[in-house]
């Protein structure tokens, strides 16, 4: 554990020296925050119509009828709450996108800087190396997620109907942000680190690692269309699946990490 922390400290210190790496993540986070406000507040205000005037959002009102957190909301507030909750998934995706470049560069970066061989000559194990690399991308991503969620919540509190903000702090929303989100981020970053230790080009690792975002994006789309709603049971199943996937990815990463090939063939 000490060796993981030693390398994690180093990577975080290195990231602090190069904050530009997280500019794409911050921008993506900003857009992710802005988008639901555009849909739920800015466009209706601009065209002078209420969301509840449209039959397109009947599903939103319907889906909230049985939720205790909905009871105090008027139809407009219910639709806004529905939109803001659905877009939480998008809020999870943005830190993944940002942290992906860090994870993708993790092993390749050490190799390109010619710092990997001295590292491998220490008692550091492959598990410790990969764990530190994944954590060094995950920790900033989680900070970013929390920051985005705080801004998002504040925006909803200030600009949405009264009572809408309260729905964001319902257990299901919090679990989405702080359980499903980190698990999905971890899976994505582990895949990127796995790929980073197999290809000798950071761009390839980033592109392949980004594939993990697709199921999450799909989840957002099907939720928005109303064809699939994240029930507690489905949510728990997805989280459990992600735990298994994460454990499998760590084992796979250790197996795929071929230090001999990295040392002798990568240039």
């Amino acid at each position: 554990m000490n060796r993981i922390l030693a390398l994690l400290d180093k990577d975080l210190a290195d990231l602090r020296q190069n904050p530009a790496l997280f500019v794409p993540a911050v921008l993506t986070g900003f857009v992710s925050i802005l988008l639901p406000f555009v849909v739920a507040i800015i466009i209706p205000a601009a065209v002078g119509e209420r969301l509840s005037d449209s039959s397109d959002f009947a599903i939103a009102v319907e889906s909230y009828q049985n939720q205790p957190s909905m009871r105090g909301l008027d139809p407009e507030g219910a639709i806004q709450a529905w939109i803001f909750q659905r877009f939480l998934v998008l809020l999870i995706l943005s830190p993944i996108a940002g942290a992906m470049s860090v994870a993708a560069y993790s092993v390749i970066g050490e190799k390109q800087m010619r710092t990997l061989e001295p590292l491998l000559a220490t008692p550091l194990t492959t598990f410790e190396l990969l764990a530190a690399k994944v954590l060094s991308a995950l920790v900033p991503a989680l900070f970013l997620t929390t920051g985005c969620f705080a801004v998002y919540g504040l925006g909803v509190l200030l600009f949405a109907q009264p009572g809408v903000a309260r729905t964001l702090f319902a257990p299901s929303s919090l679990a989405t942000m702080f359980l499903l989100g980190p698990l999905a981020t971890l899976a994505s970053l582990q895949m990127a680190v796995c790929v980073s230790s197999r290809v000798n080009d950071a761009r390839s690792a980033q592109q392949i690692g980004a594939l993990v975002i697709l199921p999450m994006a799909g989840l957002l789309v099907v939720q928005l269309t109303g064809s699939f709603l994240l029930t507690p049971k489905t949510f728990a199943s997805i989280c459990l699946a992600l735990v298994v996937v994460n454990a499998g990815l760590m084992r796979l990463g250790i197996r795929l990490f071929d230090r001999e090939a990295i040392l002798t063939r990568w240039k």
Binding site: N2, R3, A6, A121, R259, E260
Partner: protein
């Protein structure tokens, strides 16, 4: 202490190192010489437990160094890689501190301070590594290599690209390590360096072409020779020595180069004969062919 036994490494069909064996003891500087691609770095990596030999073994104090046995054994070896491999955005102290923690040192901060002091880096401790000169980077890399006080130190071209002053500092450091009974394996192309500090030399060209002390290698290739400087043209006196039973006598200007069978018995005889035949003998010295010549001759003999 460190022993390689029939060490062989293949990369696909290519043989990088073939049947390499040697044993090293504390206080020894073993220089690995060889052309590019001869297998020097591969050998060092096998010794460090970074890559597995295809066959053969490396033993450190009787324990096999392999990737599986690695973690503990790697902690007993210091490996200076060909490139300094510093994290360029971090300062010198943090570069060392990470390694002190990776090696599990009891008091990492104190170990780093001691290393900074020992390597004359205290005033550069807070400098960003990327801004250091090449010589300073190499000094930091050496400090990192020795941070955990390994008994076996592997150095891959430690003075490559350094200015003469920095290279000299590194050599002095290596000699100090030898004096402290560390076992040092040094891979280099710098024959002058080897000449100055190596106790034994291994010439590698995939296989071990030769392994001995520099003096013994010279003797093996050139035999023992005496250089006699005269006051006259030497050619006129070559016959005198040939007549006295010396079979290999070469004249070059005012110098005679004479192959010796037994050095101490022959020197007085050579001087006496030359003086008797009227030569003015200015100096008599044991001839020391340059290690470079020995190296090239040995490689030539190995099919270079």
């Amino acid at each position: 202490m460190l022993a390689a036994s029939h060490l062989t490494r293949h990369f696909g069909p290519r043989v990088a190192v073939d049947d390499l064996s040697f044993e090293l003891v504390p206080g020894e500087i073993f220089a690995l010489l060889g052309p590019n691609g001869a297998g020097k770095t591969t050998t060092l990596r096998m010794l460090a437990g970074l890559i597995e030999p295809t066959s053969g073994s490396v033993r450190l104090n009787g324990d096999a160094t392999s990737r599986r046995a690695s973690s503990r054994l790697r902690g007993q070896i210091g490996f200076l890689t060909e490139a300094p491999g510093l994290w360029e955005r971090l300062d010198v102290r943090r570069n060392l501190l990470v390694y002190a923690r990776l090696h599990g040192l009891a008091n990492p901060a104190r170990a780093v301070d001691e290393a900074l002091d020992a390597f004359g880096l205290l005033d550069r401790a807070n400098d960003v590594a990327g801004q250091l000169s090449k010589g300073l980077k190499q000094r930091v890399a050496l400090a990192r290599t020795l941070l955990h006080k390994p008994r076996v130190v592997l150095l891959d071209e430690p003075t490559s690209g350094l200015d003469p002053e920095s290279a000299r500092e590194v050599r002095e450091l290596v000699v100090r390590l030898r004096d402290k009974q560390h076992t040092i394996v040094l891979s280099t192309h710098n024959l002058d360096e080897v000449e100055r500090i190596a106790t034994r030399v291994g010439i590698l060209r995939t296989r071990l072409v030769a392994l001995d002390t520099p003096t013994a290698l010279r003797a093996r290739v050139y035999g023992k020779r005496l250089r006699v400087t005269l006051g006259q043209a030497a050619a006129a006196f070559a016959g005198t020595l040939t007549a006295a039973g010396f079979h290999d006598v070469r004249a070059d200007g005012a110098s005679l180069s004479v192959a010796l069978d037994t050095e101490h018995a022959s020197v007085p005889l050579i001087v006496r004969r030359l003086v008797e035949s009227g030569a003015d003998v200015y100096s008599v010295v044991a001839e020391e062919p340059r290690l470079e010549d020995v190296y090239l001759r040995l490689l030539e003999g190995a099919g270079a």
